[in-house]
């Protein structure tokens, strides 16, 4: 197997994000705390590790969102991003 062949697009986390958020999150935009790039979550690199989901900046690999779901509890670490912009209405 090649390096990085396991990674997916953030769009593939749509089902998990739908469990947590009331809004369509794959099109929500995040500002990376590592390099300042602003991109939709759909364009992040998703590592669907068996223990949780990690969404990383496509430019600098900073972990922007870490999600685990264990014992009936979701835990999110959003410390890798500085801003999150979510459309509240479909345009």
């Amino acid at each position: 197997m090649q390096d990085n062949d396991l990674r997916l697009d953030g769009n593939a986390a749509g089902g998990l994000l739908n469990e947590i958020f009331r809004f369509e999150m794959t099109t929500a935009e995040a500002t990376c705390g590592g390099c300042g790039t602003v991109r939709p979550i759909g364009e992040m690199m998703l590592y669907q590790h068996g223990m949780g989901a990690i969404l990383r900046c496509a430019e600098c690999d900073t972990a922007l969102i870490r999600i685990t779901h264990v014992r009936g509890c979701y835990r999110l670490d959003l410390s890798g991003m500085t801003y999150l912009r979510i459309a509240s209405e479909a345009h």
Binding site: M1, Q2, N4, D5, L6, R7, L8, D9, G10, N11, A12, G14, G15, N18, E19, R22, F23, E24, T26, T27, P40, I41, G42, E43, S88
Partner: protein, 249 residues
């Protein structure tokens, strides 16, 4: 706001052999909502001892169809695909949720009215979501100039081959270009290698035509295509990618 998706049961009404390794599952899903071309569903399989496996599959059918189509390529040492291609029977039920994904979607109502063009690049079973887009385009009579570059291992393994031939024969605004990477028929005149920058330079719309690109397939394939399109001048926000992971689904 989006609806919170729930796991729901659908029924297999038909299983169609597309190629030696790929089958389409046609599903009756009474509680479904309409979807957008390019969206996917999550499929969940639970064994008797409670063990669960979950995978995502792109919806291959266009919006507006009565039944949902998923196209699955069998990965020999896979955990889920052999069950879906060889274990399921007509009448069985399947647990899934969706439709999911707002990022990798194309809506004919938005496309084709602003002078833009559509470039689709598929690797193997990555054709599935792009086929939903092509079928949606056909059923709505949309005429946005579209090119599909489709990489398959061999002629026999081109999924939806006859339908693509038929659609492109009747629609001059849709062009399908194949490349066969491992085996070619004796009289093959088309491309016979993996997609590379030269092939994309020849087949993709030039940036001046305002292209919107969608590429789907194994992760390595998608990254190659996206990188080269960027080098050819495509805006990064207009190259949409859907990686399938190491084995293409």
């Amino acid at each position: 706001m989006v609806q919170q998706l729930k796991w729901q049961l659908c029924t297999v009404v038909e299983i169609r052999q597309e190629t030696p390794k790929a089958k389409s599952l046609i599903l009756d899903w009474p509680e479904r909502t309409t979807h957008l071309a390019g969206q996917h569903v999550d499929v969940r399989l639970t064994a008797e001892d409670g063990y669960q496996a979950q995978r995502s599959y792109s919806i291959a059918s266009p919006p507006g169809e009565k039944h949902l189509m998923l196209t699955v390529e069998r990965i020999d040492d896979g955990e889920v695909s052999p069950y879906l291609t060889d274990g399921l029977r007509v009448g069985d039920r399947l647990e899934l949720r969706g439709p999911i994904g707002g990022y990798f979607v194309w809506d004919a109502r938005n496309g084709g009215t602003d002078g833009s063009t559509l470039f689709l690049a598929a690797g193997g079973s990555g054709i599935a979501p792009l086929m939903s887009m092509i079928r949606h385009r056909a059923s709505t009579g949309n005429k946005v100039p579209t090119r599909l570059l489709y990489s398959s291992r061999s002629y026999e393994e081109v999924i939806y081959r006859e339908e693509l031939d038929r659609l492109s024969a009747h629609d001059p605004t849709l062009r399908v270009i194949h490349t066969l990477t491992r085996r070619r028929p004796a009289n093959w005149m088309g491309y016979g290698r993996r997609i590379d920058r030269a092939m994309l330079a020849d087949t993709a719309w030039p940036p001046a035509e305002k292209p919107l690109a969608f590429t789907c397939g194994p992760t390595a394939f998608v990254e190659t295509v996206a990188t080269h399109l960027g080098e050819l001048g495509y805006e990064s926000g207009r190259i949409k990618t859907e990686r399938f992971g190491p084995t293409g689904g």
